[in-house]
């Protein structure tokens, strides 16, 4: 079936398109227009903005930690029903079905769950498999696991670390490697309550810096498309911009992705000893071409923070709203689940909100800054349309700022920033650049051969409304959303990498599991057959 999406304003930065034109696709792939110009079916996109399907590189949508959050907060669901529209954990986005529907309605077609613990990988993939429409991927979390820390304690060479990463990616079916406060969760088990870049994990004598550097190098040597995805130390603390700057220095020019940077952009200035240092941080990001970041924008409302940074979450427990929280000391990282309400009349929350927008607006390369709320930590992903509107409209930002505490705006540079994102920049940040960052050559653009993941938006004055409900969304060429409503519900796949490795590591890991846990390491293995859907995985090639 040859389909023509006709007459829309096509914005496709990868292929240099930004004007009125058609997009043709057949059997799930974009094709060059046929010479005879005849289509089997045509959709009229006149007046619409046409982009590739959007890609979210960091959204906690699946896994045992997210599910604990669901079980902890049954009332969130009811809250969602009583606040239709801009709801917290909005209109669900809370079970797997609604997650798929709501993402698709916004024109998203690929979403990365960024924190899968190897021992819990099967559950994460089962949950991902039950999210309809979109394709998914998982980042595998290492950096607090005894096997790795032990390798580093023994000062073993990079080969063993590299092979261990490759094995873990293969069993957990990950698309990349993430480290969450490397060493911090392990140190917390030894009653350490603060842990920074050069602090050592007790008993191992290995610093956080050493762990992240070992992982960064191994990811590089494995030729993984996605660089190490790092959640730094000292998340959320006043003055932690220094940690972020030191981490950027420590990257030594090698590729590194810093997750939810907003949570590390705090200074100690101002009357309350808490200020936005986002402009300073943005400057450092601008100067470091090896670096990519996502923002982790905060939006006001009820949400829940879910993180494998157990140490940080334990220290944040007294701020829980409502007053209940879970701390799980896991086999490697664990979970900290702390419900939280960001309030517009709260000085600190207002600074956080402004700092995120400053990062978006002061990092001048849309290829290196990514669109996230660190769902659900800064806000549920359903807040994305509102954030896009804020980035594209300085008057709207001014309206919001007028309602926030004046003294909070005085410790940020946001009021002075005039920049407005163009649609082309939005397309780069939400489509083209994420595909490149993850090594997905056939996504994020509308050139021939790309997967026919397409979103068309009907422009209205309220840009948030435009992005909340796409007029048409195609997933692999199938119409899945019409006027913001889900039209059909195919199931996508999970993307993973399978880097080459020396087989010797397997024996060693299996012996380790038998010896340490009295268990076969096989329990971690995520097999296709266990997922219960046909053809559940797609392997993304490593860099050559």
């Amino acid at each position: 079936m040859l389909t023509r999406l006709a007459g829309g304003h096509v914005i496709d930065p990868a292929n240099g398109r930004d004007g009125i034109g058609d997009v043709w696709f057949c059997d799930g792939r974009i094709v060059v227009p046929p010479a005879n110009g005849r289509a089997d079916e045509t959709y009229d996109a006149t007046g619409m903005i046409v982009m590739a399907g959007a890609i979210d590189i960091h959204s906690h949508i699946a896994g045992s930690n997210e599910n604990l959050g669901r079980l902890l907060l049954p009332e969130q669901r009811y809250a969602a029903f009583s606040h239709a529209g801009h709801a917290p954990i909005s209109a669900g986005a809370w079970n797997t079905l609604e997650t798929g529907w709501l993402y698709a309605a916004m024109g998203f077609t690929t979403v990365v769950e960024p924190a899968v613990l190897p021992h819990h990988a099967l559950q994460a993939h089962l949950e991902l498999a039950d999210i309809p429409i979109i394709d998914k991927a998982a980042l595998t979390v290492l950096g607090n696991d005894d096997f790795l820390l032990d390798l580093l304690r023994r000062r073993e060479g990079g080969d063993a670390v590299r092979d261990y990463l490759a094995w873990t990616l293969a069993t957990s079916r990950g698309l990349g490697i993430k480290a969450v406060n490397p060493g911090g969760a392990a140190a917390f088990k030894d009653n350490i309550r603060a842990f920074s870049l050069d602090d050592e994990v007790p008993e191992y004598g290995v610093s956080s810096r050493a762990i992240f550097k070992a992982l960064q190098h191994a990811v590089q040597e494995l030729h993984l498309p996605h660089p190490l995805h790092l959640h730094c130390n000292n998340l959320g603390l006043p003055g932690n911009v220094e940690t972020a700057l030191a981490t950027i220095q420590a990257a030594e020019g090698l590729p590194l992705h810093l997750a939810h940077l907003q949570f590390y952009s705090y200074g100690k200035e101002g009357p309350r000893g808490f200020s936005s240092a986002a402009s300073k941080l943005a400057e450092a990001v601008n100067a470091a071409a090896n670096l990519t970041v996502d923002v982790g924008q905060v939006m006001f409302g009820q949400t829940v923070t879910i993180s494998a940074d157990v140490l940080r979450q334990f220290n944040a427990r007294s701020g829980a709203r409502p007053r209940k929280w879970i701390i799980l000391d896991g086999d490697s990282n664990g979970a900290g689940i702390v419900p939280y309400a960001y309030r517009p009349n709260d000085f600190y929350n207002a600074v956080q909100w402004a700092a995120g927008l400053e990062l978006f607006l002061l990092i001048n390369d849309p290829w290196r800054v990514f669109f996230t709320t660190d769902h659900p930590n800064g806000a549920p992903f359903t807040a994305y349309p509102d954030i896009l509107a804020l980035l594209m409209d300085r008057d709207l930002r001014a309206q919001w700022m007028a309602k926030l505490p004046k003294e909070a705006m005085e410790v940020t540079t946001l009021p002075s920033i005039a920049r407005e994102y163009t649609l082309n920049e939005v397309a780069i940040m939400t489509r083209t650049a994420p595909a490149r960052l993850l090594g997905l050559k056939d996504r994020g653009h509308l050139g021939a051969g790309a997967i026919a993941d397409i979103a068309a938006y009907a422009p209205v004055k309220d840009k948030a409304a435009m992005f909340r409900k796409a007029a048409l969304v195609f997933k692999t060429g199938e119409l899945v959303v019409r006027n913001g409503n889900v039209f059909s519900q195919p199931f996508g796949r999970a993307l993973n990498v399978l880097p080459a490795r020396e087989r010797a590591i397997e024996r060693r890991i299996c012996d380790y599991y038998e010896d340490r846990y009295g268990l076969s390491a096989d329990f971690m293995n995520v097999r296709d057959i266990a997922i219960g859907r046909p053809d559940p995985f797609e392997t993304v090639p490593c860099l050559s």
């Binding site: 699946a62 045992s64 997210e66 599910n67 669901r70 079980l71 902890l72 907060l73 049954p74 669901r77 669900g92 809370w94 079970n95 797997t96 079905l97 609604e98 021992h119 819990h120 099967l122 559950q123 089962l126 949950e127 039950d130 917390f188 088990k189 030894d190 009653n191 334990f314 427990r317 829980a320 007053r323 209940k324 929280w325 879970i326 701390i327 799980l328 000391d329 896991g330 086999d331 664990g334 010896d515 340490r516 846990y517 009295g518 268990l519 096989d522 329990f523 971690m524 293995n525 097999r527 057959i529 266990a530 219960g532």
Partner: protein, 363 residues
């Protein structure tokens, strides 16, 4: 025993499936209960509930709900079986029923060749099977009568916090000793089975664990009930956003631990048909009132009256490969069928029933 039956008479699988679909379709409020199923069976059950507007409940919900009640009222600090085994230098075993809930507790938790620290193990009110284990392991036992546990835990928490207590409190001397030991643990773990406690007792224990973390590390390991209850709870969580005791009568999931209690729904006459699933053990529903039952179970012997429809299903992890909750790891994991047969799985039986229903959704 493979096969299918309609009112106790042998029938083809097709006929039994069609009859099951007919009964569920005619029902005003169908119930999907028991839920002793692997992950595939649970996913199929939730999908069917969504389709027919049914209520979901597990046969061990009472125990599941007690731990959950505490967790979602005040939160909880937990750890994994592996961490409890390898890291804990103090294990506080609480109340009876631990051996019954986790038969491998001795080999998986108490025996710990790789443990870092020399461990101290104390058991509060162990009950009979626990008492035998405690004697074999020469553990310190405090208290006998489980009825004393709530007050003992309250005293222990008060003493740990430095509060005075009345001198008539049971086992005060031993509890005082324990109260001086707990804060000295480097990584202590409290272990219990919710089948044996009320929610307030569990909340007291969890509160004690939180208090201890003001100065040291302490965590807890609530043991999961049988019949894959923990995995079914997880599936319900991700597919509906809620734990079990969730209903779809209004077309969207609603959770209410009282309203959607399977036994209450049947006894009150609200539910008029039940799909009863028990693939791990031959167990009949606990309610007394008669409603048409579609049974997916391991044989019929447990039923006093033959169910309206019965389909004999395979045991997950034995007759067929499965995904289940592993007590040893506290995770979902693949389990290879130990003695594979052709017996139909819960998932296939439910999907067959689903396929025999009309395709339009009820709302």
């Amino acid at each position: 025993m493979a096969g299918a039956w309609i009112r106790g008479k042998a029938a083809s699988l097709e006929a039994a499936t069609a009859q099951a679909a007919k009964l569920l379709r005619a029902s005003r409020l169908p119930l999907i209960a028991g839920l002793g199923a692997d992950v595939a069976g649970a996913r199929a059950a939730v999908a069917l509930a969504q389709k027919i507007g049914a209520v979901l409940d597990h046969m061990h919900s009472a125990a599941l709900m007690r731990d959950l009640d505490v967790m979602r009222e005040s939160g909880m600090m937990m750890t994994t079986p592996n961490e409890a085994r390898l890291r804990a230098d103090l294990l506080l075993l609480v109340g009876p029923g631990l051996v019954e809930t986790w038969p491998e507790i001795a080999t998986r938790l108490l025996e710990s060749p790789g443990a870092k620290a020399k461990r101290r193990i104390v058991w509060l009110c162990p009950g009979q099977s626990g008492g035998e284990l405690a004697a074999r392991w020469k553990m310190d036992v405090v208290g006998e009568d489980p009825a004393d546990l709530p007050i003992m835990l309250a005293i222990l928490r008060a003493r740990c916090a430095g509060h005075p207590v009345g001198s008539t409190a049971p086992h005060l001397q031993k509890i005082d000793t324990l109260a001086s030991e707990l804060p000295q643990a480097r990584f202590g773990v409290a272990v219990w089975s919710a089948a044996q406690h009320d929610a307030l007792t569990i909340e007291m224990l969890c509160g004690l664990v939180k208090d201890l973390n003001a100065t040291t590390r302490f965590s807890s390991l609530p043991l999961a009930p049988a019949d894959n209850a923990a995995a079914v709870q997880q599936v319900s969580g991700w597919m509906t956003g809620f734990p079990v005791r969730t209903g779809f009568a209004r077309g969207y999931p609603e959770h209410d631990p009282w309203r959607f209690d399977a036994v209450r729904l049947v006894e009150s006459g609200e539910a008029d048909c039940a799909l009863w699933i028990s693939a791990y053990s031959p167990v009949a529903p606990p309610w007394k009132r008669e409603v048409p039952i579609v049974a997916l179970a391991d044989g019929l012997d447990c039923f006093e009256q033959p169910p309206a429809v019965a389909i004999s299903v395979g045991r997950p992890g034995s007759d067929h490969d499965s995904v289940e909750y592993l007590a040893a790891t506290g995770t979902l994991a693949s389990v290879a069928g130990r003695a594979r047969t052709n017996a139909i799985s819960v998932a296939d039986a439910i999907n067959g029933i689903g396929a025999a229903l009309p395709t339009s959704s009820p709302c």
